[in-house]
């Protein structure tokens, strides 16, 4: 337990552990959210007191925050507090900091909570990965989100370092008023939600390597790190050879390593540790379903799904599972923003509660598919399967399958 807590905070921290122990005992999940909520009820300032004296890193963005947080933690090495179960709002942060007295913490942070969590934890580094449409029916419109990030990172209030993706105009808009920014220049960033300038709404013009608006808003020319054939951090080139698949994970690693370089961690050593990560919260790892081997991938929104489709290996079966519960966004029309046309040569099994919406989308994309009403009918087969699922569908399939 962190020394120097007030009596109230100490009592609140006890509440977190007690409630978590109780909810585990009752079999209600890992209990981190329930305990954190109880602690914050006893002491609304609990996150502030638990963060005091620690070096905190916050990671946020629409896509990649869980994996990037895991990379920062792994690359940092040693004892690091983290909300590794994905509970990325203050109750999850409180639970993570109660569970570990490590002087260093990596907190994956929900986009909408960044401002609150920056205020409470006074982080040394805030990493901004990207910003695109996600779960729109919560009215979390991306331009408003960029504006809120910008306000909480303004030099007047925030004195840490911002590590930010300079290829994403909305991220640059959010970070440009911070006092210290390390830009990371990442290729292949999704542009669908940044077509009109956040300053003046005119068109942003994209070229292969840059972007700019007539009002003068433009991609920052100098980057602390850039990812092309190699990753260059502070002028030193590194070759990435990650166990995790996909170009988007190379981008996540570039951000994680830039964060670590700002914390004074040796980048080469950190890269070695990050390269050995094979699975993050069940994602990317192989699982068993009947006599099938399934690689389970999480995709929650157009940008994330597009990135996964690009990284699909040739051969193997493709299954896609889509739900539309509150955590997924109740409106699955985002499926029409995903370039499913790239699957034209494949056959897709459509799964999940909104499998008919998905099959309709795929039909209009000219992709051969079928609607699978009973997933158990797929238990036998020899070919390896890539299963792309959105949030609650991913959770369903984690439950339905077993580790290999």
């Amino acid at each position: 337990m962190t020394p120097g807590l007030t009596l109230r905070s100490r009592f609140a921290a006890v509440a977190v552990r007690e409630v978590n122990a109780l909810s585990r005992l009752l079999g209600r999940g890992s209990g981190t959210v329930a305990g954190g909520r109880a602690g914050l009820w006893v002491d609304p300032g609990l996150l502030t007191s638990l963060s005091r004296g620690r070096q905190v890193v916050l990671v946020t963005g629409t896509n990649g925050k869980t994996t990037t947080s895991a990379m920062v933690r792994e690359g940092w090495g040693g004892d690091v507090a983290a909300n590794a179960t994905g509970a990325n709002m203050p109750e999850g942060h409180v639970a993570a900091l109660c569970a570990s007295s490590a002087p260093r913490a990596v907190l994956e942070t929900d986009e909408a909570w960044l401002s609150t969590v920056v205020g409470a934890t006074r982080p040394a580094v805030v990493a901004l990965l990207n910003l695109s449409r996600d779960q729109l029916d919560r009215a979390n419109e991306v331009r408003q989100m960029a504006q809120r990030w910008r306000e909480c990172l303004d030099a007047e209030y925030f004195h840490g370092v911002v590590v930010a993706n300079s290829a994403d105009p909305l991220v640059v808009f959010a970070a440009e008023s911070a006092s210290r920014v390390a830009w990371v220049d990442l290729p292949g960033t999704w542009r669908g939600d940044a077509a009109s300038c956040p300053h003046c709404t005119r068109a942003i013009v994209f070229t292969t390597d840059s972007w700019s608006c007539a009002c003068g808003f433009t991609k920052p020319p100098l980057a602390a790190a850039s990812l092309r054939d190699q990753l260059v951090v502070d002028g030193v080139a590194h070759r990435l050879d990650l166990a995790l698949p996909g170009a988007f994970n190379d981008a996540n690693a570039a951000v994680a390593l830039t964060v670590l370089s700002r914390l004074g961690v040796d980048v080469t050593g950190a890269l070695g540790r990050i390269e050995s990560l094979t699975s993050v919260q069940g994602r990317y790892g192989l699982r068993r379903f009947g006599d099938r081997r399934i690689r389970l991938l999480l995709a929650k929104n157009p940008a994330g799904t597009a990135a996964l489709l690009e990284s699909l290996e040739v051969g193997g079966d493709v299954w896609i599972a889509i739900n539309a519960q509150v955590a997924d966004g109740r409106d699955p029309s985002w499926l029409y923003d995903v370039p499913f046309e790239v699957l034209a040569e494949r056959h897709v099994h459509c799964l999940g509660e909104r499998r008919v919406d998905l099959a309709t989308r795929l039909t209009y994309a000219g992709v051969s598919c079928d609607v699978v009403d009973d997933p158990d009918s797929l238990r036998s087969g020899s070919r390896e399967v890539t299963l792309i699922a959105n949030y609650t569908a991913f959770r369903d399939w984690m439950g339905r399958s077993a580790p290999c």
């Binding site: 077509a195 009109s196 068109a203 109740r330 409106d331 029309s333 029409y336 099959a359 039909t363």
Partner: protein
């Protein structure tokens, strides 16, 4: 050749409405009608087209799209006979005026006798309306209240959700349709896609069965149940 032009998907593409163009093109080709889809982005001139599609978007982009349409000769093209399908923000732009961040009454294109003001709360959820005896289903996500003038005819009567004002959804004029339904609306309602297409083709179309029919049946069944529940709970109060 049917030319389907999606206007400013970079501004009015927030809710997957670009899918409407794909649906029209695929269903047209399935009936042996040639069709092409053009995406008109910011800065590009508005080309001649059989139908223009306008989607939903956020406040700033909505205002910019309205300005670009006003300057780009869109109204003239419509007067010359081009069809229009407008959804949500696109629908608001076609009216006399709409409320937008920083302006309670921004001038619209005036193609339809409709005025949109800011409503008391945002409406987010499944919606269904009755269009000439058939259900039109979709998903709404907006904070506007649209009031039609005496010249304007609504597209449907609300069954579930808010639409324009809690009673009616969208508007309908010659070769012009407006609705608050995302989904995209033509993907969720194959009959409506074919109605629009038949109007463009100038002839009735042969049926084209697909999995979209099952989607429509299931959404209708679900929303009808919800309407019945709503009626019951209203009855208790």
């Amino acid at each position: 050749m049917l030319t389907i032009a999606v206007l400013y998907p970079d501004l009015l593409g927030t809710y997957g409405d670009g899918g409407n163009a794909r649906v029209l093109a695929v269903r047209a080709r399935a009936r042996g009608l040639a069709a092409e889809v053009l995406e008109v982005t910011i800065g590009a001139p508005i080309p001649p087209a059989s139908i223009y599609l306008l989607g939903g978007g956020e406040d700033g982009p909505q205002r910019l799209a309205c300005d670009l349409l006003a300057e780009g000769g869109f109204v003239e093209r419509v007067d010359e006979g081009a069809a229009v399908l407008a959804v949500c923000a696109g629908l608001q732009i076609l009216g006399r005026s709409f409320a937008i961040e920083g302006d309670a009454s921004y001038p619209g294109l005036g193609l339809i006798d409709a005025v949109t003001t800011r409503g008391p709360a945002r409406s987010v959820g499944d919606m269904a309306s009755n269009v000439d005896g058939r259900l039109l289903v979709g998903f709404e996500n907006h904070g506007g209240v649209t009031v039609l003038g005496p010249q304007a005819r609504p597209l449907g009567e609300m069954v579930v959700g808010r639409g324009n004002d809690g009673r009616r959804d969208g508007f309908r004029a010659t070769r012009l349709w407006g609705t608050y339904a995302h989904g995209p609306v033509l993907a969720q309602n194959p009959w409506f896609a074919d109605e629009v297409l038949a109007e463009l083709a100038g002839e009735p179309l042969a049926p084209w069965p697909s999995v979209a029919d099952r989607l429509y049946e299931e959404r209708c069944a679900l929303l009808s149940t919800r309407q019945a529940d709503g009626d019951r709970s209203r009855g208790r109060h």
